[in-house]
Amino acid sequence: MPLYHNEDQAMLADSASQFMAEEGAINKQLRHWRDRDCKDGFGHELWKQFGEMGFTGILVPEEDGGLGMGHVEAGIVLEEIGRNLTPSPFLTSSVLAATALGQGSNDLRARYLPGLVAGESVFAVAIDEGAKHRPERIKTRAEKSGNGFRLSGKKDFVIHGASADMIVVAARTSGADDDAEGVTLFAVPKDAAGLNQDAVRLVDSSMATHIVLDNVELDGDAVIGEVDGGREILNRMLNAGRIGAAAEGAGVARGAMDMTIDYLKQRKQFGKLIGEFQALQHRASHLYSEVEIARAVVIKAQQLLDADAPSAELMVSVAKAKVSKVAGLAVREGVQMHGGIGMTDEYDIGLYMKRDRALQEFLGDAYYHAERVAQISGY
């Protein structure tokens, strides 16, 4: 398959680009909710509009009311989200939770997917335990209890946790903390007794929670997939989320770069446009080169994932690592080349820097994924 968008995908990109630039613009969404100290960090109206546009169900199978598309299409929406810094529960709900639910029972799918497709429900995922992403180690325990389970443990960095109607929780039903096997995924409703969330605002104005699961009682039908068979679903979910985060990061990089290059063509110092200075030209051109490469590996990994290719795992980590490095470069060069104005809250370039930092950390940073590239490659 060629590494560019086909006609249908190009049409989706056009409509997503227009929609996000109009409805998801920084002033209309990110700044609007941030300046009102919104407890969700995003607008529910916009989320409904996502539903009307069909974005919410891109990865949801057609028989469940979705569009049954793939990661290339989800990535198209995410890149536009990234360019416009549009806050929404798309990545956690329509990519991560939707991927897990897709492996769930008919009952679970019927319970949760229609609300997601309509842009009414918000979902979150609780994976991390501690400040760094280490999904190989899961300490949270789920003990058998009657017909169901009792969950105990702590989860961190649960994006949109406080706004979520349901949280996908990875817990251990057997084995030791570091075992690959013995993991089970649960769909935990927001009002479950013993689910305690402590909400915090992050540097990019998004909302996350620290979760304490204090003997949370769940029915057996809250299990997604098989008991003890959650690792495969978790990996599937992580691959989807990681390439999604990479696509959004590529959008952040592009947004920051475009803004910076525009600025080089407007700002005058020493009687010249600063874009005339070769010191800045070379840095801008290096950045362009890196952003192009990052975008190429993102679409490569998306296609491999959609084709269920064995090398998808490797290329998803390559993409997440590469984008984390490149988007980091884009926002740092962005702030530096904007000079003093880049340090002001009034100017948008700083918002890109903040969002990039949060995205880099989400589902594993460049160091985590480079380590994974080494391990998968056999060294």
């Binding site: 590494l3 560019y4 080089l264 051109s285 490469i293 190429a296 490569k300 990994a301």
Partner: protein, 387 residues
């Protein structure tokens, strides 16, 4: 699609029948590469029979028209052939600046007569070409070149000096940029073709830091060039040169990465037995960049085929690919330790690691320096002011 599948199975069968076993492994030394030309000799029968089979089939230049010695393959078929050759590690039957550089220029700018004559010679490996561009005073600023062709009616008399002429001492003919109008910088250069055996042509190999001499200085002392031996128009050779530089950058960018051996970490571990933690970390970061760049290479080729790539994108590919290759060899030297310092030991194949490492330093100089590539990206892609 069905046609392509048929073509693939036919190609596979043809390769099976015609590509000798010895030609299905990477070239180990310079003699394993066949360059053709008047003075060429084959290293062995396998090299000869593989070359001759390809000439007969048009597979030395598969995408060129049949009339000029090619096989007339369309881009999809050419890709299938590349894939099938790479699947069995088949060596290129013929390496040639005629194929890579002069050919594309002639296909674009040549007269019908020139195409029939020169392209067919190239396809059959009869003439080995070299390229006369750079001069001692004209490197990155190539257009300032001074080698002068004086108009003598039915011929020019060429005087001057070229430098960095690859394998000039082995070449039969040269394609050469010669100033024919001193009053016009850009529109005063002619793209000439002439025989290296012409009286007044001499070459002198340049010893490089790698200890090898793949390049020469080439001197022209009253060389007579008939007035019909030029490509394009008289005084418009710069157009041809610019077109060709694009090709050269594509070629070099392809060589710098874009293949499945892009990642090196695992090979370095096998080679060294163990890796220091910090080196392992650097190798992992390199592999991320290398694998990402190989995706870029694939995307770039896909986009070129349908005209989606920015016309200046080869400059970006060349920049990123050559910088990556230099980094690759730095890491290979580190992973190899003191063994990789050996200059002429048998174990290192005569200092391959160190000589190869030094050779890569030219990647970001030849064919346009990295700094010139960045200038071009600034001007043509980012549209930055005043560049």
């Amino acid at each position: 699609m069905a046609d392509l599948d048929t073509f693939r199975s036919e190609t596979r069968a043809w390769l099976e029948a015609n590509c000798p076993e010895e030609m299905r492994q990477p070239a180990r030394d310079e003699e394993d590469v066949y360059w053709g030309g008047r003075r060429a000799t084959f290293k062995n029968d396998a090299q000869k029979s593989w070359f001759e089979a390809c000439v007969a089939k048009g597979y030395t230049v598969p995408a060129w028209p049949k009339a000029y010695g090619g096989a007339g393959l369309d881009p999809a078929q050419a890709k299938v052939l590349r894939e099938e050759m790479s699947r069995i590690n088949a060596r290129p039957p013929l390496s040639s600046f005629g194929i890579w550089m002069l050919g594309p220029a002639l296909l674009h700018f040549g007269t019908e007569e020139q195409k029939t004559h020169y392209l067919t010679q190239i396809a059959r490996g009869e003439i080995r070409w070299c390229q006369g561009y750079s001069e001692p005073g004209s490197g990155s600023d190539l257009v300032s070149l001074q080698t002068f062709g004086e108009d003598k009616g039915d011929h020019w008399v060429v005087n001057g000096q070229k430098v960095w002429t690859s394998y000039a001492d082995h070449a039969d003919w040269i394609f050469c940029l010669v100033r024919t109008d001193k009053s016009n910088k850009y529109q005063g250069i002619t793209f000439m073709l002439f025989d290296m055996e012409s009286p007044g042509v001499s070459t002198k190999p340049i010893l490089l830091i790698s200890g090898n001499s793949p390049f020469c200085e080439t001197f022209f002392d009253d060389v007579k060039v008939p007035k019909d031996q030029f490509v394009g128009e008289v005084n418009r050779g710069w157009d041809v040169a610019k077109y060709l530089l694009g090709h050269e950058r594509e070629m070099i960018s392809g060589a710098g990465g874009g293949d499945r051996t892009a990642a090196i970490g695992a090979a370095m571990l096998r080679h060294s037995g163990e890796l220091d933690p910090m080196l392992r970390a650097e190798l992992a970061m390199f592999d991320v960049d290398a694998l990402a760049y190989s995706a870029m290479g694939e995307k770039f080729l896909d986009e070129i085929k349908v005209g989606k790539a920015h016309p200046a994108q080869p400059n970006m590919m060349k920049y990123a690919g050559t910088e990556l290759n230099k980094r690759r060899h730095e890491l290979m030297m580190s992973a190899g330790g003191s063994r990789s310092l050996e200059w002429d030991s048998e174990e290192t194949g005569g200092g391959k690691p160190s000589r190869g490492w030094l050779r890569t330093k030219a990647n970001s100089i030849e064919g346009g320096t990295s700094e010139v590539m960045l200038n071009v990206i600034s001007k043509r892609i980012l549209d930055l002011p005043g560049s």
